[in-house]
Symmetry: C2
Subunit: 133 residues, 2 copies
């Protein structure tokens, strides 16, 4: 009735996540337990949506659920924790950089092998050769 209390379906949709994912977040303690209708359906308030969006945005930026848990705790504890948040973000950037470097390295190898393929007269497939070495 009257728009107060989102259903889990609407909440999920409004944050762009799967309904089951919301239940999952609740199960692992990332989303707080919402109120219930008399019949037992979950009923969410606007702050739940805020929380869910925070989680989703953090996921999009590659944070793990444990990191997000810490970020939430920090974000609820005050301005002076900004440095800790920044440190977490900085650490994360470092690991993202490492992943990018990894991917670029393997891409180089793959491109070289594919290029060798197109080169023409290999006796054996250069890609397979690369993999077999």
């Amino acid at each position: 009735m009257s728009g107060r209390g989102l259903t889990i379906g609407r909440l999920a949709e409004s944050a762009g996540v799967n309904l089951e994912t919301v239940r999952y977040y609740e199960r692992i303690g990332l989303m707080p337990e919402p109120g219930r209708t008399p019949g037992g359906h979950r009923s969410y308030e606007p702050e739940h949506r805020q929380r869910l969006r925070f989680i989703r945005r953090s996921r999009e930026l590659g944070f793990g659920l444990d990191a997000i848990r810490r970020l939430i705790a920090l974000s609820e504890s005050g301005v002076e924790t900004c440095r800790e948040v920044r440190d977490m973000a900085q650490d994360h950037i470092t690991s993202v950089d490492a992943k990018i470097a990894d991917l670029q390295r393997l891409r180089r190898v793959l491109r070289q092998a594919v290029a060798d393929c197109s080169d023409g007269v290999a006796v054996r497939c250069p890609v397979i050769e690369e993999l077999g070495s």
Copy 2:
């Protein structure tokens, strides 16, 4: 003995993978079942090591186990499959490129947020703000 028949431990070590991983690969049909000693221990031949190294190298280059299964089948079927192998590698390069682009995008966002932090006088933590939007 005299060097014939590697134990699973030596095989794993020689390819730089975990012993349990070799058993896992066997279970899912990626590694062929080796012979056994009278007491039931696995006994590997050089071609097993070749296979395992192929798998590991392919994993390092980011291929999934299913893709590796196909690569092995192709590599065992002859030279004229080179084009198919090349196509698989090309597809993989495309998905690697997409991953790199994703990571670079999120890195930009993170760096900006962290930079805003260091900027000085934000009322609320810019990283948290970024996540909460």
